[in-house]
């Protein structure tokens, strides 16, 4: 039984079958990549996992508990963090404040009415933020306004915010999309480090094969809304079904 179990998910948008009978099991401690050509349903699947979309049928359970129908913040509080395709950060706030918000969310839950508490008294939060910034190599950028940073740094910051919550499962939606080669490699390094040091289970949706094969222990190939192959990376490359899906054979 995996940490995340997806059973018989179907999702239609009008006449389009975006997801058809998706079954997927993510084992704890693995990096599980979901790949597939454009329009294969990768993003739809991710949006189902984070509570943004409700599937027509099927079930999604996390640690044995159904997460369907939960709001994004509730799913996050269970221990699932999401990294977006374009980094979603608090762009007008400083790097330090960005990470601090994640730390508060972890410690105080979804809502805390403390209008007279003082941020400068929160020593444990400050320490944790410092630690997180060191972990992602951003300690020198702590006072920078988030919007002013490079794409790679924004990604780093978003990752720091997710890690500050000690998630059990990290969902990454094309974490290197639109990045320069150097930034991509940095991100791969960062993710590898996270996997080695923290052993967080990750689900990566990715286009870039270089990223997928550098990181994943397991790969699921999605085509036209259905998983066609699930295997370890070394066996995916030579699989004729995969080549067919990518070269357009499946459309015939």
């Amino acid at each position: 039984m995996g940490i995340l179990e997806i059973k018989d998910i179907n999702k239609r948008f009008g006449g389009l079958q975006a997801l058809g009978d998706v079954n997927l099991s993510v084992e704890e401690g693995t990096v599980h990549a979901i790949i597939g050509p454009n329009g294969a349903g990768k993003s739809t699947l991710l949006n189902v996992l984070v509570g943004k979309l409700e599937p027509d049928t099927g079930s999604v359970t996390f640690e044995g508990r159904s997460i369907l129908g939960l709001k994004p913040h509730q799913i996050n509080q269970l221990g699932i963090s999401r990294v977006f395709q374009t980094p979603e950060i608090f762009s007008t706030l400083s790097v330090f404040e960005n990470v601090m918000i994640a730390c508060f969310a972890k410690r105080d839950g979804a809502f805390q009415l403390n209008p007279l508490a003082s941020i400068s008294n929160e020593k444990d939060i400050h320490e944790k933020v410092e630690q997180m910034l060191l972990d992602v190599n951003m300690a020198d950028k702590r006072n920078d306004i988030a919007a002013s940073m490079s794409r790679g740094d924004k990604r780093r910051l978003e990752m720091a915010m997710c890690l500050a919550q000690d998630p059990k499962l990290l969902l990454l939606d094309e974490p290197t999309a639109g990045m320069a080669r150097a930034d991509t490699n940095n991100t791969i390094e960062l993710l590898k480090e996270i996997e080695e040091k923290r052993g967080i289970t990750m689900v990566i949706i990715e286009h870039d094969m270089h990223v997928v094969f550098s990181l994943a222990n397991k790969i699921t190939v999605l085509a036209q809304g259905t998983p066609i192959v699930e295997d370890v990376p070394s066996k995916i490359k030579g699989n004729p079904k995969v080549q067919e899906a990518y070269l357009g054979g499946a459309h015939e």
Partner: protein, 399 residues
Amino acid sequence: MFGLDKVDTRTFLFVVAITLLAPFILNPFPSESALAQFNAGYPDLMQRFVIFGIFAIGFNILFGLTGYLSFGHAAFLGVGSYAAVWMFKLLSFNIVPAIALSIIVAGLFSLVIGYICLRRSGIYFSILTLAFAQMSFAMAYSVLSNPSFNLTNGETGLQVYASDPQYLKGNGPDNTHLFGLEMNSTATLEIGAWAFQFNIGFYVCAAFMIAAFYIAMRIFRSPFGLMLRAIKTNQTRLNYTGLNSRPYMLAAFVISGMYAGLAGGLLAATDPLAGAERMQWTASGEVVLMTILGGAGTLLGPVLGAAFIKYFENIFSKINDTVLHTWFSFMPESIENFLVAIIYPFVGKGWHLTLGLMFMLIVIFLPGGLVDGGMRIWNRITGKNRTQADPVADPKPAE
């Protein structure tokens, strides 16, 4: 001090000093001089400065921090006034129960309205709040004022009559008072050609404003305030970070509604009268102007904006053509008439025109409002390069 860091303590003490010394600061010209009409140091106007300061400080907690633009905040002010006047009618002219009730009623009112309006964001939220405020206005103006059930006394406005019960009045004063201290009593201090007026009502309101400012400051520096600023920046990220934005918004809305209620209660406390026009959309728009003019999201901005607008409203509107003619009487008559003709549309009844022009100039050239302007001048003088007027939540670690 007071749970604030050094910079904030300084700002706070500055506000306290300015407020307490307002009768001097606002009265720079000798009473008999031609410039005396620019003095703002008389009780009625000073009370308005601090009361609308409170209103704007509260509005800024919602608009400045979360970016949600409410166009119906005057409704809470009006409700506060009505609640206070009812306390005068039923109990006595003591302002304490009146102000307590006005805060509570405005809080409950904003809880209901906020709960409904916050289902939408952006322009739809603004429109919903505007609709609610106009409904409240209509209710106060006509619906809730009929012979069988007269809660608001319609267009006459709610006021205290001799026939009202006033159960706790006893031998108490016939005017609003704080445990016997009458709000309208004024002491005048004459120094040379100057006459400074110290009014109980002003100092009571000023004490409330200082408390209101202090609480706002604490909110700005709290984790709660940080979440509100996060809502303004990126609500999606906030939700995916495990935070529920809805209750945060509602709490901010209710807090700012209670500030408006307090302001309404104080308006009634200085003049025991409540009219429906206090709830009209123009009154809601005014607080938006005050906040933006002074600098939304800054601590001092709203207070400055409120004082600025009230000053214009009361001082510029008093300059009529007779006054203008006396100003320019030293010139040849043709030039005098020409100048008066040019300036006249901008003063007196036309003060809105001047205000509108200044508002445009500030929004275009100083998007951060008066506080931003002040900061730029200060930086010019000191040669420093501080970009933000309010380094909100100093991200230095706690030492």
